[in-house]
């Protein structure tokens, strides 16, 4: 039965603000602060930000000037105490749960990051409420049966060919995670002052998952493909290892990720973890540059949701042109060096001094 009487007791929009690994406030969280403000203004409610970090204080300014949140609640420990340096579900879930039970927001928004997805799912389970993942839009609408001011969440389904509109009409709060880059980051309002409330952590629980050795910094190129804004991909049509290295240079200049088709890996030009497609990565960058890729379905399944697709190859009949926004029919061997030369004029000089070996 719809618990209609619960609703007046739940109000305000809570945004979980992620401070990623003690380095930056995640852009996805800042975008959500803007969206939360929009919703809050429409409903005449407040925006509550919740965050944690090591020496968290240094990030509060940046948080408060995006989306003008009313109050920022945070857990912080001074360095070198690493308790709140990284997201650890065993520590954070009970704390966030307690916060939400106390403040009863009607809506909770989180950026769909590794930590955000984890936290959102666990909190939804703890609070016995609904969660919608990877939303591409949220709106406030009225519903004939469930009442006014429902949060309607749009999310892709069936591999992106469909969009489902989801509501959470009878449980509270309504929770959703949103892909970073979905909403525009609000312009900073440097004059805004939010109420800052530091929360006191209880004694830490004994962790079930403990570290055996000191962790090391991790950066495997392949895993960044899912989060890349631009991907420079090479297929068999690139022709040679030499030319493929030029692709890598282009990627470097564009701050893009390098990817490949199975055949290019087969030729020894790239490693297996760079494969895009049916048996590899599924990506949705803003821009996908497909060099020398014919467009077999085994590959296109992995990238046809990209924002803009540019196909560069010497075959006007290749299937990839059907899904490309822009096609460049040319010989990659001569086109690429030209492009790099033109690009160099636009790109900051410091790239040229960076430690990148020229193809021989």
């Amino acid at each position: 039965m719809p618990k209609k009487d619960d609703r007046p007791r739940f109000k305000d929009i809570c945004v979980f603000v992620e401070i990623k690994d003690h380095e930056t406030v995640h852009p996805g969280s800042l975008e959500l602060l803007g969206k939360a403000r929009e919703i809050a203004d429409k409903l005449s409610q407040r925006v509550l930000a919740f965050t944690f970090g090591m020496d968290c204080g240094q990030y509060l300014d940046e948080i408060q000037c995006h989306g003008r949140p009313d109050t920022i609640f945070y857990y912080s420990t001074p360095g070198p105490d690493k308790t709140f340096k990284h997201y650890n579900e065993e520590i954070i879930v009970p704390l966030f749960k307690e916060f939400l039970q106390q403040h009863k927001p009607a809506i909770v928004l989180l950026a769909a990051t590794e930590a955000g997805r984890d936290l959102a799912a666990r909190i939804a389970a703890e609070l016995d409420t609904g969660l919608t993942a990877d939303c591409t839009d949220v709106t406030i609408e009225d519903h004939p049966a469930y009442g006014k001011n429902l949060l309607v969440m749009a999310k892709p389904a069936f591999g992106g060919n469909f969009v489902a509109s989801i509501i959470c009409p009878t449980r509270y709060p309504t929770m959703c995670t949103v892909r970073p880059g979905t909403f525009r980051r609000p312009s900073p309002a440097t004059d805004h002052k939010a109420e800052m409330v530091q929360l006191t952590p209880p004694p830490l629980p004994k962790l079930l998952v403990s570290l055996l050795t000191d962790p090391t910094r991790y950066s495997v190129p392949g895993s960044k493909l899912e989060e890349a804004d631009i991907i420079v991909a090479g297929g068999n049509g690139v022709g040679s290892q030499e030319t493929f290295k030029l692709l890598e240079k282009l990627a470097f200049m564009l701050r893009a990720e390098v990817a490949a088709t199975r055949v290019a890996v087969f030729n020894g030009w790239a490693s297996e973890d760079k494969i895009i497609g049916q048996t590899g990565h599924i990506v949705h960058p803003k821009l996908y540059l497909a060099f020398g890729i014919s467009g077999q379905i085994q590959h296109t399944t992995g990238m046809n949701e990209s924002g803009i697709i540019v196909a560069i190859n010497n075959d006007a009949n290749a299937p990839i042109h059907e899904i490309a926004d822009y096609s460049i029919i040319t010989d990659i061997k001569t086109f690429l060096p030209n492009l790099i030369k033109e690009l160099e004029k636009f790109v900051n000089l410091r790239f040229r001094k960076a430690n990148f070996s020229e193809p021989k």
Partner: protein
């Protein structure tokens, strides 16, 4: 009579199709263009699925499946890469299965598990420069010397020749005895005197290393004669009967690939303001292609079913191979016609299907020989056995 696949057959088809489309279809154009043989990775993956011993009993590391499951597996593989289909069907039908059916216990113990598991690849070698359809023209000889036979001769067009390690080789032991003077020998590539000659550069099936084989005083233990010494020719005929079912499935796979590509193209390609599939000329072609592939399909399953029930299947398998190869080649030709100019260029697989398909009308018994087999059977049937 049940025209539905069993749950096992359906899962075999689904599973082999998934592998073939994910792995084989992606590398096939590449192997073809560069005349490259299969990388070890592909062979290992085929082996792991027991695709090298589809019908060999489980006791010898095979999958022990029925003949229709076998045909489905060969069809799906061939649809993605005909050259792989060739390697697998020859290995299964005319090497592993014959050893399983006609081999002695010792021979099975020695050779079968390695073949079924894919640790060793097999080849079947009868053809010589002067002995194609006319097997009796065979000039490779095997001379008895104590407990061994010494084989001398030259074979050509051996499928899997360059990579095979276990081979069934036909040789004459008594020229005066005609057909009864030919024996089949199990020969290991490792036996001294065996060498691989030229590897053919072919119109199609390029990833298959078809080669010459030279036998220079190769000593083979007499225990390695398959069946009886006088049975070589008779066994070859039976072995080829089994092989033809696989070849027919292979041709069907190639034909299906060409047909499906053409059918899809006909719905997408627009000329004169409509998809070309709406024009009768194209539609009639597609209809004929489909009907002809379907008829080949059921001839193949009929032959497979007869074989599994231990009923005579020689005529049935000849019909299956004849119809399937002829129909598939016509389908590939029509498919290229439907694609027009685009069918002729290397970027699309249509021209590869066309090139790959042609040989199915020739090897493991030409279409003409198939017609002789069928014709002979007809005469026998209608003359009460007197002709």
């Amino acid at each position: 009579m049940d025209f539905q696949f069993t749950p096992i057959q359906k899962l075999v088809q689904k599973s082999v199709r998934r592998f073939s489309q994910e792995v084989l279809a992606v590398v096939a154009p590449h192997l073809d263009k560069e005349h490259k043989t299969h990388p070890k990775e592909v062979i290992d993956q085929l082996a792991a699925q027991h695709l090298y011993g589809i019908q060999v009993p489980e006791a010898y590391e095979g999958a022990g499946l029925d003949s229709i499951s076998y045909c489905l597996a060969i069809e799906e593989i061939s649809k993605a890469c005909a050259a792989t289909g060739l390697m697998v069907t020859v290995h299964n039908s005319v090497v592993a299965l014959p050893i399983s059916v006609f081999g002695s216990e010792d021979q099975k113990k020695k050779y079968l598990a390695d073949l079924a598991s894919g640790r060793k690849i097999g080849a079947f070698s009868i053809t010589e420069p002067n002995a194609g359809s006319d097997v009796s023209g065979m000039q490779t000889v095997a001379v008895k010397d104590g407990n061994e036979y010494v084989i001398n001769g030259k074979k050509c067009f051996v499928t899997n020749g360059a990579i095979a390690e276990t081979m069934i080789v036909g040789a004459t032991i008594d020229r005066k005895a005609g057909n009864k003077g030919v024996a089949l020998f199990l020969v290991e590539k490792a036996f001294p005197g065996v060498s691989v000659g030229k590897i053919e550069r072919k119109m199609g099936m390029r990833a298959n290393p078809v080669s010459e084989l030279f036998f220079d005083n190769v000593r083979v233990p007499k225990e390695n004669v398959l069946g009886k010494e006088s049975e070589g020719f008779r066994l070859s005929m039976k072995i080829l009967d089994m092989g033809r079912i696989g070849i027919a499935a292979q041709a069907l796979g190639i034909g299906m690939a060409a047909f499906e590509a053409a059918a899809k193209y006909a719905t997408e390609r627009k000329q004169f303001n409509q998809p070309i599939g709406k024009f009768q000329a194209i539609q009639f072609k597609l209809a004929e292609m489909k009907a002809n592939l379907e008829s080949a399909r059921y001839l193949i399953y009929k032959a497979a079913d007869l074989k599994d029930h231990d009923l005579p299947f020689s005529e049935a398998s000849a019909m299956a191979k004849y119809v399937s190869a002829e129909n598939a080649m016509k389908v590939c030709t029509d498919a290229m016609q439907i694609f027009g100019g685009y069918g002729y260029v290397e970027e699309l697989p249509v021209e590869r299907y066309f090139r790959d398909c042609k040989i199915t009308q020739i090897y493991e018994g030409t279409s003409e020989i198939m017609q002789i087999i069928i014709g002979t059977a007809i005469l026998k049937e209608f003359s009460g056995g007197f002709i």
